[in-house]
């Protein structure tokens, strides 16, 4: 199995290289992080439903739609990506694709545990530490391959994420920030020292080697780079980004596995906001309440 330990890459390359590997029918493991921030939509996300385009434009945050599943994510250089491309006929790939997460996420789980965090798999595809989401993951069939992609959150820009997502009103946005902050956890939250890229990648590589066998370090060759360039143009094109996608009734943001913030249509003076955890309404809030949170974006 080829290993591409790329370190810092351009924001488009941080997605396009694994797409290119898959389209070329080549298996490989990629480790990298983007040098600049961007917003990444899942294949079936609807841009206008999900994203405050004006905010992203004003802040110069570019957009990309990947061909794997899961929802909208804000990505930057404080997240380490691990991306595994396997041919669909690889015996490792189960008929029930989601079952592979159990295996795919073991290396990241080991990294967290080596750092002293009590991390565990929250099926199908989250890693949770201390009951809070610490890694986002998704997968998709691309060409004749399947790509599994995940990340380790060294830190997370909760403010920008909550601003970039479309919100029906500012109260929803405040709750979104608060709930994300309470239900996501990063290495910065847990460690007294900064986590080094090399320590994390060493742990990931060791973990993947246990599952995949020897990994051969490689640099992207000309064919891969050219394919990635073309794929990158497509993934960021206006036509591709504007493809229609799912638009649930009311506003619904998934925060972690089984955790959603819903906004129901206006009832009386304001909207009713509901935090749903594993199918149960955990918190119901008025959309126009006067709760003030000391958020930087309100300053």
């Amino acid at each position: 199995m080829d290993l591409y330990d790329l370190g810092p890459v351009g924001w488009v390359e941080s997605q396009s290289i694994y797409h290119a590997l898959a389209l070329l029918g080549r298996e490989g493991l990629i480790l990298c992080y983007p040098t600049t921030p961007y917003i990444c939509l899942g294949l079936h996300d609807d841009l206008d439903y999900e994203i405050d385009r004006q905010y992203c434009r004003e802040r110069g945050i570019p957009l990309l739609r990947r061909e794997t599943g899961g929802g909208v994510v804000y990505l930057d250089n404080r997240q380490l990506f691990f991306q595994l491309v396997l041919r669909q006929d690889n015996p490792l790939v189960p008929l029930r694709r989601h079952r592979f997460y159990e295996k795919f996420l073991q290396p990241a789980l080991s990294v967290y545990r080596d750092l002293g965090m009590a991390a565990e798999l929250k099926p199908p595809a989250d890693i949770a530490a201390d009951g809070r989401k610490s890694s986002g993951n998704g997968s998709g069939d691309i060409g004749r391959c399947v790509a599994y992609v995940g990340n380790i959150l060294l830190d997370f820009d909760f403010v920008t994420m909550s601003r970039a997502l479309k919100a029906p009103d500012e109260t929803y946005r405040r709750h979104l920030y608060r709930i994300m902050r309470a239900n996501l956890i990063t290495l910065t939250d847990c460690l007294a020292y900064p986590a080094e890229y090399s320590r994390l990648t060493t742990g990931l590589i060791a973990g993947f080697q246990r599952q995949l066998g020897d990994l051969t370090p490689r640099e992207p060759d000309a064919e891969l780079r050219e394919t990635a360039r073309r794929v990158g143009e497509r993934l960021t094109s206006g036509e591709w980004l504007d493809l229609p996608g799912r638009r649930p009734a009311g506003r619904k943001v998934k925060i972690a596995e089984g955790l959603y913030l819903l906004a129901q249509e206006s009832v009386g003076r304001g909207r009713k906001l509901t935090l749903v955890r594993d199918g149960v309404a955990e918190e119901v809030m008025a959309g126009d309440d006067e709760m003030e949170l000391a958020l930087p974006f309100r300053a």
Partner: protein
């Protein structure tokens, strides 16, 4: 892997991407019970619009379940004459009733000879068994 009993009606044809095909003047196409079971809870379904001409094996839609997306590949060539808008609006219908209300689209086959490339129920059952056995052998216990 825990084996589950899956329906495989005798009056349908099947392909290796887990689609069923009911052949008459037109063909009705859907996902098999086994196929929907492997995909899991379907959260989103998108079909190419009626009027689209597709070739066998070409993408004719996409599907998303929890944390996975994949393409729907046409089992036969032809022009799609109708898509199941109800299933697009409520994809869980495909899980709940894959051979009935969860059908995906109707297609006017372009080449009747392609029907001969499909499997009957017995061959499809045997092919499923073969895949399950292969996966059990390869997974070596890491999958429940």
């Amino acid at each position: 892997m825990q084996r589950e009993k899956r329906a495989i009606p005798d009056d349908l044809f099947y392909d290796r991407n887990d689609f069923w095909i009911k052949v008459a003047e037109e063909a009705v196409i859907g996902l098999t019970d086994y196929g929907q079971g492997n995909i899991g809870d379907i959260l989103y379904l998108e079909l190419v619009p009626a009027g689209t001409v597709v070739r066998r094996g070409e993408r004719c839609g996409s599907i998303e379940s929890g944390k996975w997306v994949g393409s729907l590949l046409a089992p036969v060539s032809g022009m799609i004459v109708e898509t199941n808008r109800d299933a697009e609006a409520d994809p869980h219908m495909v899980n709940a009733d894959p051979f009935g209300r969860g059908w995906l689209y109707r297609i006017e086959p372009a080449d009747r000879n392609e029907i001969g490339l499909l499997m009957d129920s017995g061959a499809y059952q045997a092919w499923i068994e073969e895949r399950i056995c292969l996966e059990e052998k390869n997974s070596q216990g890491w999958i429940d």
